[in-house]
C-alpha cells in the first residue's frame, strides 16, 4: 500500500532552504508563530492524511456517488475523514481566526495542503469550495452575512459550492441566463439551470451554501451585468437557525472519468418559483468579487495537478525499486545474470528523472507563488506590494495551466513505469491519472489561462509583470554564475530567460497587428514554454543552494538536486528553446486554415 504521499525532505528543502520562510516570522502578523509550530502543523497534516484521508481515497473511487429522488449520497467512507477535517480545523488554514480560520502564512498552508490533497482530492474539494464561498462572503458580504455564513463555511461544518456553469455558458460565463428578481423584503428570487456543479448536492453536511452567478432583470448583457448571490440549500434565519428548504433541486449527476466520490450536479433553481437568494456585494459586480479569490483558487487547482504528479512519481519510484525484470544492460546476453530492479535500466531512469525534475520544479514554482502572496500581504511599502502582486499575477496562470498539464503528463509516465500493473486497478496510478485530468479543464480551462496570460498578464500591464519576473530570474542567474561547477547551467538558463523575454515582447507586439489571431493561437505554447523556463530557473536556484551543501551528511540529497537540475536544463530546456522558436512563427497555419479543410 501507498504510505509515502509526499516528499517531506523536498518540502522542507523548499520551505526552509530555498525560500527561507523563517523570514516571515519577523513580521508582526506572524510573531506568535515559530518554526517548531510550522513543523508540528505539517507533521500533523501528514499524520492525519496518511492514516485517515488516504485509506478513503480508493474506496471513494470504487463506490462513487449515487443519485436518487433528487438526492445525492456520497460514499460512506468519506464521513469519518470529513468529520476529522472539521474537528481538526483544517478547513481554512490561511484565514482570519475570528471566522474559524487559522491565520497561517500561505506558504505553510500550501505545504499542509500538499499532504491533504495527495491523500484525498475528494475531501479537498470540500475544503476548497467551503473556503471559496466563505472567502467571497468575508470579502464582500454585509456584517450579518459574514456572521451567518463565514465561520460555518471555513470550518467545513457546512458545504460550499460555486454555481457558474450553464449549458450555454461554460468558458463564456458572460452568456449565462440565470436570472434574479428583487423581492419586497430585499431578497432575490432566482430562476435558472446550472450544470457541472461540484458538490452541488450531497449528504455530508447539514447545509450547503451556493454562491450563484445570475443576472438581475434588466441588467446589461455579458459579464458587466452579472451579480453574485448567496443561495443556501436550507434557508438560514437571522438568528442562525435553519429554516425552510430552498427551491434548489438536483436533477442529476454526471457519470465521469474520475473524482467519482465527488458529485458533479445539475441544479435547477426556482423550478417551483421559490428559490431565494441574498445579493452578495453590489449588483452587477459579481465577476469582480469572483476575481478577488481567483488567484487562490487557481493555485489550488494547480496544486491538484502537481500533487497528482508528485504522488504518481512516488508510486513509480517505489515500483521501480521493487520490480525485477530484465538484466543489467552491461550484462546483455548473459543468460545466467540475475534480473535487476527496473530502476537500473537507463530508460526507466530517464523516465523517473524526468518525472522528478517536473515534480520538484513545480513544487518550487507553486510554493514560491504562495510565498509571493505572503510577501505581498506583509509588504511595508507600495512598491514592494506592487512588485509581489505583479509576480503573483503573472505566475498564477502558469501555476494553473503548467502544473495541471505537467502533473497529468507525469501520471502518464508513471503508468508507463509500472507497465501492465499501472494499467490495472490494483495499483493507484490509474486512479490518480483519471482524477487529475479535470484540473486542466475546470476553473478556467487551460486555453482560457493562456489567453489570460497573454492578454492580461503580459499585454494588459504593458509588460511590467514580465519585467518583475525576468528580474527575479536574472538575480538567481547572477548568483549561480559565481559557482564554477554550475556556471554552465546558469549560462543556459540566462539564454533561455533572454529569449523568453524577447519572444514575449514580440508576441505582445503581434497582438497590436493584423496577425492578432495568430498571437492567440500561440498563447498556449507561450504559456507552456514560460513554465519550462521558470522551472529551469527553479532548478538553477535549487542547484545553487545544493552546491554549497555538498559536504554535509545529506550529500546524496544535495547532489541529487544538482543532477536533477542538470537533467532539466540540459535535456528539457533545449527543447523549450525550440518551442520558443515555434512561437515566433507569425502567421500561424492553425489560424489561416479554412474550416472545411480540417
Amino acid at each position: 500500500m501507498l504510505t509515502k504521499i509526499a516528499d517531506q525532505r523536498d518540502i522542507d528543502f523548499v520551505l526552509y532552504e530555498q525560500l527561507g520562510i523563517e523570514s516571515l516570522l519577523t513580521s508582526k502578523k506572524y510573531q506568535d508563530f515559530n518554526k517548531k509550530m510550522f513543523d508540528m502543523v505539517l507533521k500533523e497534516a501528514k499524520n492525519i492524511s496518511v492514516k485517515e484521508f488516504l485509506p478513503a481515497c480508493a474506496e471513494c473511487d470504487k463506490v462513487g456517488v449515487t443519485f436518487k429522488d433528487n438526492m445525492v449520497t456520497v460514499p460512506d467512507c468519506l464521513r469519518k475523514p470529513h468529520h476529522l477535517l472539521f474537528k481538526g480545523e483544517w478547513g481554512a488554514l490561511t484565514e482570519d481566526p475570528e471566522y474559524g480560520g487559522q491565520g497561517l502564512p500561505f506558504t505553510i498552508a500550501q505545504a499542509a495542503m500538499e499532504y491533504i490533497t495527495a491523500a484525498n482530492q475528494i475531501l479537498v474539494s470540500y475544503i476548497w469550495l467551503g473556503h471559496g464561498a466563505g472567502k467571497m462572503i468575508e470579502l464582500s458580504g454585509t456584517q450579518k452575512q459574514k456572521d451567518l455564513f463565514v465561520e460555518k463555511l471555513y470550518t467545513g461544518e457546512w458545504g460550499g459550492s460555486m454555481l457558474l456553469t450553464e449549458p450555454e455558458a461554460g468558458s463564456d460565463v458572460g452568456a449565462l441566463t440565470t436570472s434574479a428578481k428583487k423581492m419586497d423584503d430585499g431578497t432575490y428570487e432566482l430562476t435558472g439551470n446550472k450544470i457541472f456543479i461540484t458538490n452541488g448536492e450531497q449528504n455530508l453536511t447539514d447545509n450547503i451554501i451556493h454562491p450563484v452567478l445570475a443576472r438581475i432583470e434588466g441588467a446589461p448583457q455579458g459579464t458587466k451585468g452579472i451579480s453574485l448571490f448567496i443561495v443556501p440549500k436550507i434557508w438560514v434565519n437571522d438568528d442562525g437557525s435553519l429554516g425552510e428548504h430552498n427551491d434548489v433541486l438536483c436533477t442529476g449527476v454526471e457519470e465521469k472519468m474520475g473524482l467519482h466520490g465527488s458529485p458533479t450536479c445539475s441544479l435547477s433553481l426556482g423550478s417551483r418559483g421559490k428559490c431565494r437568494g441574498l445579493l452578495l456585494g453590489e449588483a452587477n459586480k459579481g465577476m469582480e468579487i469572483m476575481f478577488h479569490m481567483m488567484n487562490e483558487v487557481r493555485l489550488e487547482v494547480g496544486t491538484q495537478g502537481f500533487t497528482s504528479g508528485s504522488l504518481a512519481y512516488l508510486c513509480a519510484l517505489d515500483h521501480a525499486k521493487q520490480r525485477r525484470q530484465g538484466r543489467s544492460i552491461e550484462k546483455v546476453g548473459d543468460e545466467e545474470a540475475a534480473q535487476v530492479p527496473i530502476i537500473q535500466h537507463p530508460d526507466v531512469r530517464r523516465m523517473l528523472l524526468r518525472m522528478k525534475s517536473y515534480v520538484e520544479g513545480m513544487r518550487s514554482l507553486i510554493y514560491y507563488t504562495a510565498f509571493c502572496m505572503d510577501k505581498k500581504e506583509l509588504a511595508d511599502n507600495d512598491e514592494e506590494r506592487d512588485r509581489q502582486s505583479k509576480l503573483v499575477e503573472i505566475l498564477t496562470p502558469v501555476v494553473k495551466a503548467y502544473s495541471t498539464e505537467k502533473g497529468f503528463d507525469v501520471c502518464v509516465e508513471a503508468m508507463q513505469v509500472l507497465g501492465g500493473y499501472g494499467y490495472t486497478r490494483e495499483y493507484p496510478v490509474e486512479q490518480i491519472l483519471r482524477d487529475c485530468k479535470i484540473a486542466s479543464i475546470y476553473e478556467g480551462s487551460n486555453g482560457i489561462q493562456a489567453m489570460d496570460f497573454l492578454g492580461r498578464k503580459l499585454f494588459g500591464n504593458k509588460g511590467k509583470a514580465l519585467d518583475c519576473l525576468v528580474k527575479e530570474m536574472k538575480e538567481c542567474v547572477a548568483v549561480a554564475k559565481e559557482h564554477k561547477a554550475i556556471k554552465d547551467l546558469a549560462t543556459d538558463v540566462e539564454k533561455a530567460v533572454d529569449k523568453l523575454e524577447e519572444i514575449c515582447r514580440n508576441t505582445m507586439g503581434v497582438i497590436m497587428s493584423r496577425q492578432m489571431p495568430s498571437a492567440f493561437a500561440s498563447a498556449h505554447p507561450l504559456l507552456d514554454v514560460t513554465g519550462d523556463v521558470i522551472v529551469a530557473w527553479m532548478h538553477l536556484w535549487r542547484a545553487t543552494l545544493a552546491q554549497t551543501r555538498l559536504d554535509s551528511k545529506d550529500r546524496i540529497f544535495y547532489q541529487g538536486k544538482i543532477t536533477t537540475a542538470q537533467f532539466f536544463i540540459k535535456t528539457i530546456l533545449p527543447v523549450a528553446m525550440g518551442k520558443l522558436d515555434a512561437v515566433t512563427y507569425e502567421e500561424n497555419p492553425a489560424v489561416i486554415m479554412e474550416e472545411g479543410a480540417f
Binding site: 517548531k36 509550530m37 508540528m40 502543523v41 500533523e44 499524520n47 485517515e52 474537528k87 480545523e89 487559522q102
Partner: protein, 267 residues
C-alpha cells in the same frame, strides 16, 4: 480524579532505522520520533475519563532527552493538562534510563510528589518491546496492576477492566490507586485539532533532572542497569515468496501441506 499517563517517545515506526557504530544502539542522528502508539491509547483513555468525570486532571510523565519535548507538545495538543519531563541526560549523550529497571526507578521517583488515583501506561513500547516498565513502576509504588486493558470503568474508588488474555478476555477489578496498561482496541486516539496545536506551543513543560527528583546519577545509566545490550542486528531479509500452482484449491492445499511438512518441517 488525578490521572497520570506514562509516555515514551520512540522512533517513528514508519521511518527507517540504522544501527549505530557502537552496535549496541540505533543511530538517532536523523531519527524521526513519535509517541509510542500504545501510549496514544493511554493518553486517549485518560482524556476520555477526564471528559466523562469532569473535575479531573491528566498529568503526563515522560523520561527522555531534549527531543522528547516534541512528543510532549503533541500530548498537550491532544489535551493533557500538565507534563513532567525527566530529562535523563547525565552527560553529553550519556543517559540515566538505559533499561526497564532504571527507567522504572526514575518514573517511580518522579511520581513521589505527584498526586494520582490512576496511572495509565501502554502495554509496551514498540522500540525495545520489553513490556516491563509499567509492571516495575507498579511494583515500586506498591500498586495493583491490570495489564492489556481493552475496556475500563472507573468509579472514585475502584476500576473495573476487561483484559485480553490468551484466547479470550477476563474481567478484573482493583481498588484505586492502581496502574493499568492499554491494549489496542481500547479506543481510537484523537488527532490534535489545529487551535490546540497552536496553544500547545505556549504551555510550560515541567522539566527536571535526576537530582531534582532526589536521584543520584551515579546509580543510573550503565551503573544501574540490569539489562545490557551486547549487540544489535537487523532480522534476516525475507526471502522470495512462493506461489503454489495447482488446478483446484484442494490440490493447492495438498501441495502446501506437503511443503510445510517436508521443506519447512514445521508440521
Amino acid at each position: 480524579m488525578n490521572i497520570v499517563v506514562l509516555m515514551k517517545q520512540v522512533p517513528d515506526t514508519e521511518a527507517p532505522v540504522e544501527i549505530a557504530e557502537s552496535n549496541v544502539a540505533i543511530d538517532t542522528e536523523d531519527t524521526k520520533w513519535a509517541i509510542n502508539p500504545y501510549d496514544e491509547f493511554s493518553l486517549e483513555e485518560a482524556l476520555l475519563i477526564k471528559e466523562a468525570k469532569g473535575d479531573s486532571k491528566v498529568t503526563l510523565v515522560t523520561v527522555g532527552p531534549d527531543h522528547v519535548a516534541e512528543a510532549i507538545r503533541v500530548a498537550y495538543a491532544m489535551g493533557v493538562d500538565e507534563a513532567i519531563h525527566i530529562n535523563d541526560e547525565i552527560d553529553d549523550e550519556v543517559y540515566g534510563a538505559v533499561d526497564p529497571h532504571t527507567t522504572a526507578a526514575i518514573i517511580a521517583a518522579a511520581l513521589k510528589d505527584v498526586p494520582f488515583d490512576l496511572i495509565i501506561a501502554g502495554q509496551r513500547a514498540v522500540d525495545d518491546d520489553s513490556y516491563l516498565v509499567p509492571a516495575l513502576v507498579a511494583n515500586k509504588l506498591n500498586l495493583p496492576i491490570i495489564s492489556l486493558v481493552t475496556k475500563q470503568e472507573t468509579t472514585d474508588t475502584e476500576i473495573n477492566c476487561v483484559q485480553s488474555i490468551d484466547g479470550g478476555t477476563a474481567v478484573v477489578k482493583a481498588a484505586l490507586p492502581a496502574l493499568i496498561t492499554t491494549q489496542k482496541g481500547i479506543n481510537e486516539p484523537r488527532y490534535p485539532n489545529f487551535r490546540a496545536i497552536m496553544k500547545a506551543k505556549k504551555k510550560k513543560v515541567d522539566e527536571r533532572e535526576l537530582e531534582d527528583i532526589g536521584l543520584d546519577p551515579e546509580n543510573f545509566g550503565i551503573n544501574g542497569a540490569k539489562v545490557k545490550i551486547r549487540s544489535m542486528e537487523f532480522p534476516p531479509e525475507r526471502g522470495q515468496g512462493k506461489i503454489i500452482e495447482g488446478s483446484s484449491p484442494a490440490e493447492k492445499a495438498k501441495i502446501l501441506v506437503n511443503l510445510l511438512k517436508e521443506e519447512a518441517s514445521v508440521i
